[in-house]
Symmetry: C2
Subunit: 339 residues, 2 copies
Amino acid sequence: MKRVSIKDVAKEAGVSVATVSYVINNTPNQSISDETSLRIRKAVTKLNYIPNLNARSLASRKTNLIGVVIPQTEPGKEFMFSNPFYGDLLSSIEYTARQHSYHLLLSGPEPNQSYINIARNRSVDGIIIVGAYPTKGLDELRQLDIPVVLVDTYVKDPVYHTVGIDDRLGGKMATAYLIEKGHSKIAFVSGQIEEQGVMQKRFQGYRDALEDAGIPFHQDFVYLGNISFEYAQATADEMLRRGRIETAAFASADILGMGLIKGLRRQGFHVPEDLSIVGFDDVSLAQMADPSLTTVRQDISAKGKTAVQFILDAVSGNIEKQEKILPIHIVERESVKNL
Amino acid sequence: MKRVSIKDVAKEAGVSVATVSYVINNTPNQSISDETSLRIRKAVTKLNYIPNLNARSLASRKTNLIGVVIPQTEPGKEFMFSNPFYGDLLSSIEYTARQHSYHLLLSGPEPNQSYINIARNRSVDGIIIVGAYPTKGLDELRQLDIPVVLVDTYVKDPVYHTVGIDDRLGGKMATAYLIEKGHSKIAFVSGQIEEQGVMQKRFQGYRDALEDAGIPFHQDFVYLGNISFEYAQATADEMLRRGRIETAAFASADILGMGLIKGLRRQGFHVPEDLSIVGFDDVSLAQMADPSLTTVRQDISAKGKTAVQFILDAVSGNIEKQEKILPIHIVERESVKNL
DNA sequence: TTGAAAGCGCTAACAG
DNA sequence: CTGTTAGCGCTTTCAA
């Protein structure tokens, strides 16, 4: 079946392609007589014409496409969305984009970290990058002048828009909550701490809370591996091996909290009786855990929505850099015991 | 910063655009002297030229884009990827596509279910649709002649490729396993059963196993709501209210199994002591559950990989319809008690 | 209110 | 081995 083009419609309606284009796009400052307009619409319906967005993009330099780059949690690993946080975030981005008739061009990072390729290649209208560290690739992006939104990053930049939360504050809240419940031997369980990364901030918050309470910091209470259920499980074992000195743990991601619970239970211990746990993120899993996880809630949905909104704003001419720090708060559930 | 085009490169290298195109694409049957080829490559590097894939697509009718349509779990709900199954699947699709330098165009279904728009609009090279029911929209897609892969669907079609599992067999395996462990009062917990849908097949399998074992079917043991943690939790309550007649339950998705566990626990009951549970899918959560979930494992990663491969095969000229039923098997964990 | 025509950046015959 | 040229399907001046 031959694809029907704007030409076919023009012929069918007995007008020029330009006119067809005008009515299809409802081009401003172009008045078309009701009569021709109607004739064209009829032709469109009759031929079942659907514009080729590719051609449109080429001519208009607008693609209605938003590039989304989500990092590999672990290099070479395929399951980036298995981390429920990304799944939740992507859902929200897709939903918001669709509301505004944008489509999403999805991509893991290219091997060479070159964000710029996907952007230039496909001429996306904007690009959302999640969890970026300062890299050359990020700088290259500057050469294009398309809006860039950095989600969950502490890269400081005069142009790129950012949306995130105050991770340091979150870390502090989580830890302070535990302290308030009478704990003083508090583990910090996390993935690797990258310079200027989210986990670093949460760690700082942990130390802030300790300091505020006059509790000395113990390096032994810090467990750094990677952000996975398995690692947290192993960490629970490790804690027991060391004699289970801690009475509580701040898990810097919910999935870690879940792993701790499981690891403990495997050894016959219980949460929160034997160890109190506060997580971070409040992914949908957090309430599925048993006991359900007390955690620092962030509005993942709002995060995605805001990121898309920033792109839309920029596309429609708002050149000012936008920044948004979304609020967070503790959600009390069952994983913390009051000493 | 002005975008550099193929023309600029041609000028820089002192050749025609055609020649540039040839070396960039390594066009078959076009021999280029090493000397010019080198000169062109140098110009490309110097100018930092990146081809505009949009223009390329327009000219070549090939976009290197795969459309992915993932259904809303619940209409109007934004969190489609919060269902971990879709997250896992998407990960695998993205990964495989990227290996072959394809990008993914992501889309939830349009309100009018018209898959065809996204396909025609963006001229994707192929389209992967997850969990489709027979609809007009699906038929329209036939008009295009791009490869279509239907994942997890029982729509029968002479052209569309399909990849899935034998859901009926899976349902039977799960139920038979429970029977083998001495259970005969077995609940079936599921989302709504759609005609020709995956859940219907799993339900049939459930009945098959019952019948094979000579166990009468009880309508009372069938709980139909929607595929969510919350519904399953409520179902657990409902079972108790009815007096907890069942000793086991086949949850037609892992997330339902998890909800059951939680719901039971909330009422002071335990899995598997008070109720044995078998799930379905083996999403990453299944092992995080406590007790970890005995379930019917399917290889979600292989599913995504196969779907992409079918597209690639078709694009490169393989016109034959391909079908793949991936193997499944029971993974024994902790949620079933031997009576 | 409409149309002619010049591109957008690239590919692919075809010719040389 | 390389260049000319005609599109791909659409938007957008500019003129009528």
